[in-house]
Amino acid sequence: MNSNIVMAAEGDPRKVTRGFEEATKLIEIGEARFSRFLEDSELSVLNRESGEWVSVSTEMYELIHEAYRFASETAGRFDPSVLGALEDAGYDRSMDEIRARGAGPSTSRRSRGHGEFLATEFDPPTSAIRLPSGVRVDLGGIAKGWLAERAARVLAGFSTACAVSAGGDLFAVGLPAGDSAWDVALEDPRDERESLTTLRVGPGAVATSSVTKRRWHQDGRARHHLIDPRTGLPAESAWLSVTVIAPHATTAEVYAKCLLIAGPGEAEKIAARRKDITFIAVDGQAKLWGSSNAREFLNEAFKYA
């Protein structure tokens, strides 16, 4: 999934080391299952068979069903079936390949299907899924959160407190010894080597979506990987990044993406529907904006609209 995985844990070193191994195994299995860049991944098979019933693993069924629930809850603001649009924008190969050889050419051949994801059908007794014909999904973001949380729960069985971060999606179990919160540095989206502040968060999830990380040029135009399902194009937002604190990693991941795409005009309204999330957005001048409860997690003053 072209993402850095970071694990941190406290406890008996031998047990923690074993926990790292088990959590790593889970992530590797997850990547082989959910990656769209692997031809033989379970997701690639499901995408190739769109329009047909496909029996899938429990994990795939669970994650697609969760994605469906979020797509419904956000009225399509979150839509994993934007894969065609993502490929049209040039993201038809891994970021490593794009950085090495450039993005794919601009096209509209593949941008069918986004917006139709809610027509996906599920058959629980057989653990089968039927994507609408022509619809293909990208689980990159939500899969990262899903794996981070599961890996953290595995690691928690071998440690007294732990956290797993998968490409910006973080899930923490317990608290560091003698501390009342986890310190999570909020990166400056203009320069990832810098931090804007340190968040103080309890057990649970923190996820950030940014338009400055996965960027490339296509036919002379700047592109990024966050597709606005309403337009099928890379989102144009006044914010550079949105960080969400939530009880679960998939919730944090999905809402970080939705709120970034929604921007200042709609973010507060969307966030207000979920009382269990807090968001902090960063604009082009590195000013922080956020929901009314965001101050509780900040070390420094920030501006609230």
């Binding site: 993402s3 850095n4 003698g178 540095a185 940014s210 960080t243 070390n299």
Partner: protein, 87 residues
Amino acid sequence: MKSLLYSLRVLIAAGSLGGFFGGWALFAHSGKPAAAVPEPPAQVVPAPSQSQDLSPLSLPQLQPVQPLQPLPSFSSGPRMRLRTGGS
């Protein structure tokens, strides 16, 4: 001559005994030596109360402040610092 010497010894002995008992009696009836006695504490004179004459202190006008910095925390091992910034 012998009687003169005898008389002289008796006189010296009697004088010694008389001096001894005379000194005893003198010391027995003299005053005791002075002891180190702490000085009595100085008497505290309460200051005259003025509370009835003063108006209550007014609180300073509160200024809006930035969110409080959390107190530094301590742990036994190196702190685990995590980052979030998207990918």
